[in-house]
Protein backbone atom coordinates (compact mmCIF):
# COMPACT_ATOMS: atom_id res chain seq x y z
CA UNK A 1 0.00 0.00 0.00
CA UNK A 2 1.56 3.25 -1.06
CA UNK A 3 0.46 6.71 -0.12
CA UNK A 4 -0.52 9.09 -2.86
CA UNK A 5 -1.00 12.67 -1.80
CA UNK A 6 -1.12 14.01 -5.37
CA UNK A 7 -4.91 13.64 -5.59
CA UNK A 8 -5.20 15.75 -2.47
CA UNK A 9 -2.76 18.30 -3.82
CA UNK A 10 -4.81 18.50 -7.02
CA UNK A 11 -7.83 19.47 -4.98
CA UNK A 12 -6.07 22.35 -3.23
CA UNK A 13 -8.64 24.85 -4.45
CA UNK A 14 -11.58 22.99 -2.92
CA UNK A 15 -9.60 22.57 0.30
CA UNK A 16 -8.88 26.29 0.40
CA UNK A 17 -12.55 27.14 -0.01
CA UNK A 18 -13.43 24.47 2.54
CA UNK A 19 -11.04 26.09 4.99
CA UNK A 20 -12.70 29.46 4.40
CA UNK A 21 -16.06 27.75 4.97
CA UNK A 22 -14.82 26.36 8.27
CA UNK A 23 -13.56 29.78 9.38
CA UNK A 24 -16.88 31.34 8.33
CA UNK A 25 -18.82 28.78 10.37
CA UNK A 26 -16.56 29.34 13.38
CA UNK A 27 -16.76 33.15 13.26
CA UNK A 28 -20.50 33.37 12.70
CA UNK A 29 -21.11 30.64 15.28
CA UNK A 30 -19.02 32.52 17.82
CA UNK A 31 -20.81 35.80 17.05
CA UNK A 32 -24.18 34.19 17.76
CA UNK A 33 -22.69 32.47 20.81
CA UNK A 34 -21.62 35.83 22.25
CA UNK A 35 -25.09 37.30 21.73
CA UNK A 36 -26.70 34.23 23.33
CA UNK A 37 -24.15 34.37 26.15
CA UNK A 38 -24.72 38.05 27.00
CA UNK A 39 -28.53 37.71 26.73
CA UNK A 40 -28.45 34.61 28.91
CA UNK A 41 -26.44 36.37 31.63
CA UNK A 42 -28.74 39.42 31.47
CA UNK A 43 -31.74 37.14 31.96
CA UNK A 44 -30.03 35.31 34.84
CA UNK A 45 -29.19 38.60 36.55
CA UNK A 46 -32.79 39.79 36.39
CA UNK A 47 -33.35 37.05 38.95
CA UNK A 48 -36.82 36.11 37.80
CA UNK A 49 -37.70 32.55 38.60
CA UNK A 50 -39.07 31.09 35.36
CA UNK A 51 -36.73 32.82 32.85
CA UNK A 52 -33.70 31.94 34.99
CA UNK A 53 -34.85 28.35 35.19
CA UNK A 54 -35.25 28.18 31.40
CA UNK A 55 -31.75 29.59 30.83
CA UNK A 56 -30.26 27.12 33.32
CA UNK A 57 -32.15 24.27 31.69
CA UNK A 58 -30.87 25.33 28.25
CA UNK A 59 -27.28 25.47 29.52
CA UNK A 60 -27.51 22.06 31.20
CA UNK A 61 -29.10 20.35 28.21
CA UNK A 62 -26.54 21.74 25.78
CA UNK A 63 -23.60 20.91 28.02
CA UNK A 64 -24.74 17.37 28.69
CA UNK A 65 -25.61 16.18 25.19
CA UNK A 66 -23.27 15.65 22.23
CA UNK A 67 -23.14 18.34 19.56
CA UNK A 68 -23.91 15.69 16.94
CA UNK A 69 -27.29 14.97 18.56
CA UNK A 70 -27.99 18.69 18.90
CA UNK A 71 -27.30 19.39 15.25
CA UNK A 72 -29.45 16.43 14.13
CA UNK A 73 -32.27 17.60 16.37
CA UNK A 74 -32.11 21.14 14.98
CA UNK A 75 -31.77 19.86 11.43
CA UNK A 76 -35.06 17.96 11.73
CA UNK A 77 -36.83 20.31 14.12
CA UNK A 78 -36.52 23.53 12.11
CA UNK A 79 -38.41 22.29 9.01
CA UNK A 80 -41.18 20.93 11.24
CA UNK A 81 -41.42 24.38 12.81
CA UNK A 82 -41.83 25.77 9.30
CA UNK A 83 -38.30 27.20 9.07
CA UNK A 84 -36.51 26.10 5.92
CA UNK A 85 -32.80 26.86 6.05
CA UNK A 86 -29.92 25.43 4.09
CA UNK A 87 -27.59 23.08 6.01
CA UNK A 88 -24.84 25.67 6.39
CA UNK A 89 -27.17 28.16 8.09
CA UNK A 90 -28.57 25.39 10.29
CA UNK A 91 -25.00 24.51 11.25
CA UNK A 92 -24.22 28.11 12.19
CA UNK A 93 -27.35 28.22 14.33
CA UNK A 94 -26.41 24.96 16.05
CA UNK A 95 -22.84 26.18 16.67
CA UNK A 96 -24.18 29.47 18.01
CA UNK A 97 -26.56 27.81 20.44
CA UNK A 98 -23.95 25.28 21.56
CA UNK A 99 -21.25 27.92 22.03
CA UNK A 100 -23.81 30.22 23.64
CA UNK A 101 -24.48 27.78 26.46
CA UNK A 102 -20.77 27.66 27.27
CA UNK A 103 -20.48 31.45 26.85
CA UNK A 104 -23.25 31.98 29.43
CA UNK A 105 -21.24 30.04 31.99
CA UNK A 106 -18.01 31.89 31.16
CA UNK A 107 -19.52 35.39 31.15
CA UNK A 108 -21.46 34.73 34.34
CA UNK A 109 -18.23 33.69 36.03
CA UNK A 110 -16.52 36.86 34.80
CA UNK A 111 -19.26 39.17 36.05
CA UNK A 112 -19.33 37.42 39.41
CA UNK A 113 -15.55 37.69 39.70
CA UNK A 114 -15.76 41.46 40.26
CA UNK A 115 -16.31 42.00 44.00
CA UNK A 116 -18.91 44.60 44.95
CA UNK A 117 -16.37 46.40 47.13
CA UNK A 118 -14.41 47.24 44.01
CA UNK A 119 -17.23 49.28 42.46
CA UNK A 120 -17.89 50.91 45.79
CA UNK A 121 -14.21 51.83 46.07
CA UNK A 122 -14.35 53.34 42.59
CA UNK A 123 -17.38 55.44 43.49
CA UNK A 124 -15.73 56.50 46.75
CA UNK A 125 -12.71 57.68 44.78
CA UNK A 126 -15.02 60.02 42.89
CA UNK A 127 -15.16 58.21 39.55
CA UNK A 128 -18.27 58.67 37.48
CA UNK A 129 -20.79 55.81 37.33
CA UNK A 130 -19.89 55.14 33.68
CA UNK A 131 -16.17 55.26 34.41
CA UNK A 132 -16.66 52.78 37.22
CA UNK A 133 -18.52 50.44 34.89
CA UNK A 134 -15.98 50.74 32.09
CA UNK A 135 -12.72 50.72 34.05
CA UNK A 136 -13.64 48.67 37.10
CA UNK A 137 -16.30 46.24 35.93
CA UNK A 138 -16.12 45.78 32.16
CA UNK A 139 -12.38 45.70 31.43
CA UNK A 140 -11.40 43.50 34.41
CA UNK A 141 -14.32 41.16 33.69
CA UNK A 142 -13.28 40.89 30.05
CA UNK A 143 -9.69 40.39 31.13
CA UNK A 144 -10.81 37.58 33.40
CA UNK A 145 -12.90 35.78 30.79
CA UNK A 146 -10.83 36.43 27.67
CA UNK A 147 -8.64 33.30 27.97
CA UNK A 148 -11.72 31.10 28.49
CA UNK A 149 -13.55 32.70 25.58
CA UNK A 150 -10.46 32.27 23.41
CA UNK A 151 -10.21 28.55 24.12
CA UNK A 152 -13.96 28.26 23.66
CA UNK A 153 -13.51 29.78 20.21
CA UNK A 154 -10.83 27.23 19.32
CA UNK A 155 -13.10 24.46 20.58
CA UNK A 156 -15.96 25.81 18.47
CA UNK A 157 -13.67 25.90 15.43
CA UNK A 158 -12.84 22.23 15.95
CA UNK A 159 -16.52 21.44 16.52
CA UNK A 160 -17.38 22.76 13.04
CA UNK A 161 -15.99 19.48 11.65
CA UNK A 162 -19.11 17.72 12.98
CA UNK A 163 -21.29 19.92 10.74
CA UNK A 164 -20.32 17.59 7.90
CA UNK A 165 -23.00 15.23 9.25
CA UNK A 166 -25.71 17.51 7.82
CA UNK A 167 -23.40 18.34 4.87
CA UNK A 168 -22.88 21.97 5.70
CA UNK A 169 -20.20 23.64 3.60
CA UNK A 170 -16.93 23.33 5.51
CA UNK A 171 -13.54 21.63 5.35
CA UNK A 172 -14.56 18.13 6.47
CA UNK A 173 -17.48 17.83 4.06
CA UNK A 174 -15.24 19.07 1.25
CA UNK A 175 -12.72 16.40 2.30
CA UNK A 176 -15.39 13.71 2.29
CA UNK A 177 -16.32 14.68 -1.24
CA UNK A 178 -12.69 14.38 -2.34
CA UNK A 179 -12.51 11.02 -0.55
CA UNK A 180 -15.60 9.78 -2.38
CA UNK A 181 -14.04 10.72 -5.72
CA UNK A 182 -10.53 9.40 -5.12
CA UNK A 183 -10.85 6.66 -2.44
CA UNK A 184 -7.72 8.07 -0.82
CA UNK A 185 -9.24 8.14 2.68
CA UNK A 186 -6.11 8.28 4.79
CA UNK A 187 -4.38 10.90 2.65
CA UNK A 188 -7.46 13.12 2.67
CA UNK A 189 -8.05 12.92 6.41
CA UNK A 190 -4.37 13.30 7.24
CA UNK A 191 -4.29 16.48 5.17
CA UNK A 192 -7.49 17.76 6.80
CA UNK A 193 -6.04 17.07 10.25
CA UNK A 194 -2.94 19.07 9.37
CA UNK A 195 -5.04 21.98 8.10
CA UNK A 196 -7.11 21.98 11.31
CA UNK A 197 -3.91 21.93 13.36
CA UNK A 198 -2.56 24.94 11.47
CA UNK A 199 -5.89 26.76 11.86
CA UNK A 200 -5.96 26.23 15.61
CA UNK A 201 -2.28 27.07 16.14
CA UNK A 202 -2.59 30.30 14.15
CA UNK A 203 -5.86 31.22 15.88
CA UNK A 204 -4.34 30.50 19.28
CA UNK A 205 -1.38 32.72 18.48
CA UNK A 206 -3.56 35.55 17.14
CA UNK A 207 -5.87 35.40 20.15
CA UNK A 208 -2.92 35.44 22.55
CA UNK A 209 -1.55 38.51 20.78
CA UNK A 210 -4.99 40.14 20.89
CA UNK A 211 -5.23 39.37 24.59
CA UNK A 212 -1.84 40.92 25.29
CA UNK A 213 -2.71 43.99 23.26
CA UNK A 214 -6.19 44.61 24.63
CA UNK A 215 -6.10 43.28 28.17
CA UNK A 216 -2.60 43.56 29.58
CA UNK A 217 -2.38 45.53 32.78
CA UNK A 218 -1.51 49.23 32.24
CA UNK A 219 2.21 49.72 32.66
CA UNK A 220 1.95 53.25 34.01
Amino acid sequence: MTLDFSVVADAWKSLLFGTLGTLFLAFSGMAIAMVVGVLGVVVLRMQMRIPSLLVTLFVEIVRNTPFLVQIFFLFFALPLAGVRLNPTVTAILALGLNGGAYAIEIIRGGVESIPKGQTEAGLALGLHKHEVFRLIVLVPALRAIFPSLASQFILLTLTTAICTSISAYELTSVGQRIEAETFRSFEVYFTLTTIYLVISLVTMWLLAALGRWAFSYPQR
Binding site: M1, L3, E60, I61, R63, N64, T65, P66, F67, L68, V69, Q70, F72, F73, F76, A77, L80, I154, L158, T159, T160, A161, I162, T164, S165, T172, S185, F186, Y189, F190, L192, T193, Y196, L197, S200, L201, M204
Partner: protein, 214 residues
Protein backbone atom coordinates in the same frame (compact mmCIF):
# COMPACT_ATOMS: atom_id res chain seq x y z
CA UNK B 1 -41.52 4.21 18.99
CA UNK B 2 -42.11 0.68 20.23
CA UNK B 3 -40.27 -1.53 22.68
CA UNK B 4 -38.18 -2.98 19.86
CA UNK B 5 -36.74 0.41 18.86
CA UNK B 6 -36.10 1.33 22.47
CA UNK B 7 -34.17 -1.90 23.02
CA UNK B 8 -32.09 -1.10 19.95
CA UNK B 9 -31.28 2.34 21.38
CA UNK B 10 -30.35 0.83 24.73
CA UNK B 11 -28.04 -1.60 22.94
CA UNK B 12 -26.36 1.42 21.35
CA UNK B 13 -26.17 3.01 24.78
CA UNK B 14 -24.24 -0.01 26.06
CA UNK B 15 -21.69 0.49 23.30
CA UNK B 16 -21.46 4.19 24.15
CA UNK B 17 -20.73 3.29 27.77
CA UNK B 18 -18.23 0.64 26.73
CA UNK B 19 -16.36 3.01 24.41
CA UNK B 20 -16.30 5.63 27.19
CA UNK B 21 -14.92 3.16 29.72
CA UNK B 22 -12.25 1.86 27.32
CA UNK B 23 -11.22 5.40 26.34
CA UNK B 24 -11.19 6.61 29.93
CA UNK B 25 -9.29 3.67 31.42
CA UNK B 26 -6.77 3.70 28.56
CA UNK B 27 -6.59 7.48 28.86
CA UNK B 28 -5.83 7.23 32.58
CA UNK B 29 -2.99 4.75 32.01
CA UNK B 30 -1.36 6.57 29.10
CA UNK B 31 -2.29 10.01 30.43
CA UNK B 32 -0.28 9.27 33.56
CA UNK B 33 2.75 8.56 31.39
CA UNK B 34 2.13 11.69 29.32
CA UNK B 35 1.81 13.85 32.46
CA UNK B 36 4.97 12.45 34.08
CA UNK B 37 7.05 12.81 30.92
CA UNK B 38 5.58 16.28 30.38
CA UNK B 39 6.95 17.52 33.73
CA UNK B 40 10.30 15.75 33.27
CA UNK B 41 13.36 18.01 33.40
CA UNK B 42 14.75 16.47 30.20
CA UNK B 43 13.65 18.29 27.02
CA UNK B 44 13.95 15.02 25.06
CA UNK B 45 11.04 13.64 27.06
CA UNK B 46 9.17 16.89 27.57
CA UNK B 47 9.01 18.25 24.01
CA UNK B 48 7.48 15.14 22.37
CA UNK B 49 4.73 15.25 25.00
CA UNK B 50 4.09 18.94 24.32
CA UNK B 51 3.64 18.03 20.65
CA UNK B 52 1.44 15.02 21.49
CA UNK B 53 -0.86 17.20 23.61
CA UNK B 54 -0.82 20.04 21.06
CA UNK B 55 -1.83 17.77 18.18
CA UNK B 56 -4.77 16.21 20.02
CA UNK B 57 -5.98 19.50 21.48
CA UNK B 58 -5.54 21.32 18.18
CA UNK B 59 -7.44 18.97 15.85
CA UNK B 60 -11.07 17.82 15.87
CA UNK B 61 -11.76 14.49 17.55
CA UNK B 62 -13.61 13.52 14.39
CA UNK B 63 -10.38 13.83 12.36
CA UNK B 64 -8.50 11.78 14.96
CA UNK B 65 -11.11 9.04 14.60
CA UNK B 66 -10.87 9.14 10.80
CA UNK B 67 -7.07 9.05 10.77
CA UNK B 68 -7.01 6.09 13.16
CA UNK B 69 -9.82 4.32 11.31
CA UNK B 70 -8.14 4.60 7.91
CA UNK B 71 -4.52 4.87 9.03
CA UNK B 72 -4.15 1.81 11.27
CA UNK B 73 -4.99 -0.65 8.46
CA UNK B 74 -2.27 1.02 6.34
CA UNK B 75 0.21 0.20 9.09
CA UNK B 76 -0.81 -3.44 8.76
CA UNK B 77 -3.27 -3.64 11.64
CA UNK B 78 -6.55 -5.09 10.51
CA UNK B 79 -8.79 -3.99 13.29
CA UNK B 80 -12.56 -4.02 13.72
CA UNK B 81 -14.18 -0.56 13.85
CA UNK B 82 -14.66 -0.59 17.61
CA UNK B 83 -10.95 -1.27 18.18
CA UNK B 84 -9.82 1.54 15.88
CA UNK B 85 -12.27 3.92 17.56
CA UNK B 86 -11.10 2.78 21.01
CA UNK B 87 -7.46 3.41 20.10
CA UNK B 88 -8.29 6.90 18.86
CA UNK B 89 -10.35 7.70 21.96
CA UNK B 90 -7.58 6.38 24.22
CA UNK B 91 -4.94 8.50 22.52
CA UNK B 92 -7.27 11.51 22.63
CA UNK B 93 -7.95 10.98 26.34
CA UNK B 94 -4.27 10.45 27.14
CA UNK B 95 -3.41 13.88 25.72
CA UNK B 96 -6.22 15.72 27.51
CA UNK B 97 -5.79 13.92 30.84
CA UNK B 98 -2.02 14.30 30.56
CA UNK B 99 -2.42 18.06 30.20
CA UNK B 100 -4.92 18.25 33.09
CA UNK B 101 -2.60 16.30 35.38
CA UNK B 102 0.44 18.24 34.22
CA UNK B 103 -1.32 21.38 35.46
CA UNK B 104 -2.24 19.70 38.73
CA UNK B 105 1.29 18.41 39.35
CA UNK B 106 2.71 21.86 38.75
CA UNK B 107 0.05 23.43 40.98
CA UNK B 108 1.31 21.52 44.02
CA UNK B 109 3.43 24.07 45.92
CA UNK B 110 7.17 23.72 45.35
CA UNK B 111 7.74 23.66 49.10
CA UNK B 112 6.26 20.17 49.17
CA UNK B 113 8.95 18.80 46.86
CA UNK B 114 11.62 20.68 48.77
CA UNK B 115 10.36 19.30 52.08
CA UNK B 116 10.35 15.77 50.64
CA UNK B 117 13.90 16.42 49.44
CA UNK B 118 14.96 17.66 52.84
CA UNK B 119 13.47 14.53 54.40
CA UNK B 120 15.69 12.49 52.11
CA UNK B 121 12.88 10.79 50.15
CA UNK B 122 14.05 9.21 46.88
CA UNK B 123 12.85 10.71 43.57
CA UNK B 124 9.99 8.32 42.86
CA UNK B 125 8.67 8.51 46.42
CA UNK B 126 8.75 12.31 46.22
CA UNK B 127 6.45 12.09 43.19
CA UNK B 128 4.27 9.12 44.17
CA UNK B 129 3.87 9.72 47.91
CA UNK B 130 4.04 13.50 48.17
CA UNK B 131 3.14 15.29 44.93
CA UNK B 132 0.73 12.91 43.21
CA UNK B 133 -1.81 12.49 46.04
CA UNK B 134 -2.15 16.26 46.27
CA UNK B 135 -2.22 16.67 42.50
CA UNK B 136 -4.94 14.01 42.28
CA UNK B 137 -7.23 16.01 44.53
CA UNK B 138 -6.58 19.21 42.59
CA UNK B 139 -7.20 17.55 39.22
CA UNK B 140 -10.40 15.70 40.11
CA UNK B 141 -12.95 18.33 38.97
CA UNK B 142 -11.25 18.76 35.58
CA UNK B 143 -10.88 14.99 35.20
CA UNK B 144 -14.60 14.47 35.78
CA UNK B 145 -15.31 17.30 33.37
CA UNK B 146 -13.24 15.55 30.73
CA UNK B 147 -15.08 12.27 31.37
CA UNK B 148 -18.31 14.05 30.36
CA UNK B 149 -16.52 15.45 27.31
CA UNK B 150 -15.31 11.95 26.37
CA UNK B 151 -18.75 10.39 26.81
CA UNK B 152 -20.22 13.00 24.46
CA UNK B 153 -17.24 12.51 22.14
CA UNK B 154 -18.02 8.82 21.62
CA UNK B 155 -21.04 9.99 19.59
CA UNK B 156 -18.61 10.85 16.78
CA UNK B 157 -17.96 7.15 16.31
CA UNK B 158 -21.38 7.28 14.64
CA UNK B 159 -19.90 9.23 11.73
CA UNK B 160 -17.31 6.53 11.01
CA UNK B 161 -20.20 4.06 10.98
CA UNK B 162 -19.93 2.46 14.38
CA UNK B 163 -23.32 1.69 15.93
CA UNK B 164 -23.41 3.35 19.32
CA UNK B 165 -26.23 5.43 20.79
CA UNK B 166 -26.27 8.27 18.24
CA UNK B 167 -25.90 5.95 15.26
CA UNK B 168 -28.63 3.70 16.66
CA UNK B 169 -30.76 6.85 16.90
CA UNK B 170 -30.12 7.70 13.23
CA UNK B 171 -31.05 4.18 12.16
CA UNK B 172 -34.25 4.09 14.22
CA UNK B 173 -35.17 7.57 13.05
CA UNK B 174 -34.80 6.47 9.43
CA UNK B 175 -37.05 3.49 10.11
CA UNK B 176 -39.94 5.16 11.90
CA UNK B 177 -39.68 8.69 10.43
CA UNK B 178 -39.92 10.41 13.80
CA UNK B 179 -36.56 12.17 14.06
CA UNK B 180 -37.62 14.62 16.75
CA UNK B 181 -38.92 11.92 19.06
CA UNK B 182 -35.92 9.67 18.47
CA UNK B 183 -33.25 12.35 18.86
CA UNK B 184 -35.16 13.75 21.84
CA UNK B 185 -34.95 10.35 23.51
CA UNK B 186 -31.30 9.95 22.50
CA UNK B 187 -30.49 13.40 23.91
CA UNK B 188 -32.34 12.56 27.12
CA UNK B 189 -30.33 9.33 27.46
CA UNK B 190 -27.07 11.27 27.11
CA UNK B 191 -28.34 13.77 29.67
CA UNK B 192 -29.13 10.97 32.12
CA UNK B 193 -25.54 9.75 31.83
CA UNK B 194 -23.75 13.10 31.75
CA UNK B 195 -25.74 15.29 34.09
CA UNK B 196 -24.95 13.46 37.36
CA UNK B 197 -21.27 13.50 36.37
CA UNK B 198 -21.41 17.23 35.64
CA UNK B 199 -23.09 17.91 38.99
CA UNK B 200 -20.50 15.79 40.76
CA UNK B 201 -17.68 17.66 39.01
CA UNK B 202 -19.16 21.01 40.03
CA UNK B 203 -19.52 19.88 43.65
CA UNK B 204 -15.87 18.76 43.70
CA UNK B 205 -14.86 22.12 42.28
CA UNK B 206 -16.80 24.04 44.94
CA UNK B 207 -15.32 21.90 47.69
CA UNK B 208 -11.85 22.57 46.32
CA UNK B 209 -12.56 26.31 46.17
CA UNK B 210 -13.65 26.27 49.84
CA UNK B 211 -10.46 24.43 50.75
CA UNK B 212 -8.32 26.92 48.83
CA UNK B 213 -10.04 29.92 50.43
CA UNK B 214 -9.28 28.65 53.91
Amino acid sequence: MGIQELTYLLQGLLWTLLLTVIGFVGGILFGMVVALLRVSPSPWLRIPMICWIGVFQGTPLLMQLFVAYFGLPLLGFNLPAWAAVSIALTAHASAFLGEIWRGAIQAVPGGQTEAANALGLPGWSRMVDVVMPQAFKLSLPATVGFLVQLLKGTSLAAIVGFIELTRAGTIVSNQIYKPLLVFGVVGALYCVMCWPLSLWGRRLEQRLAVGAAR
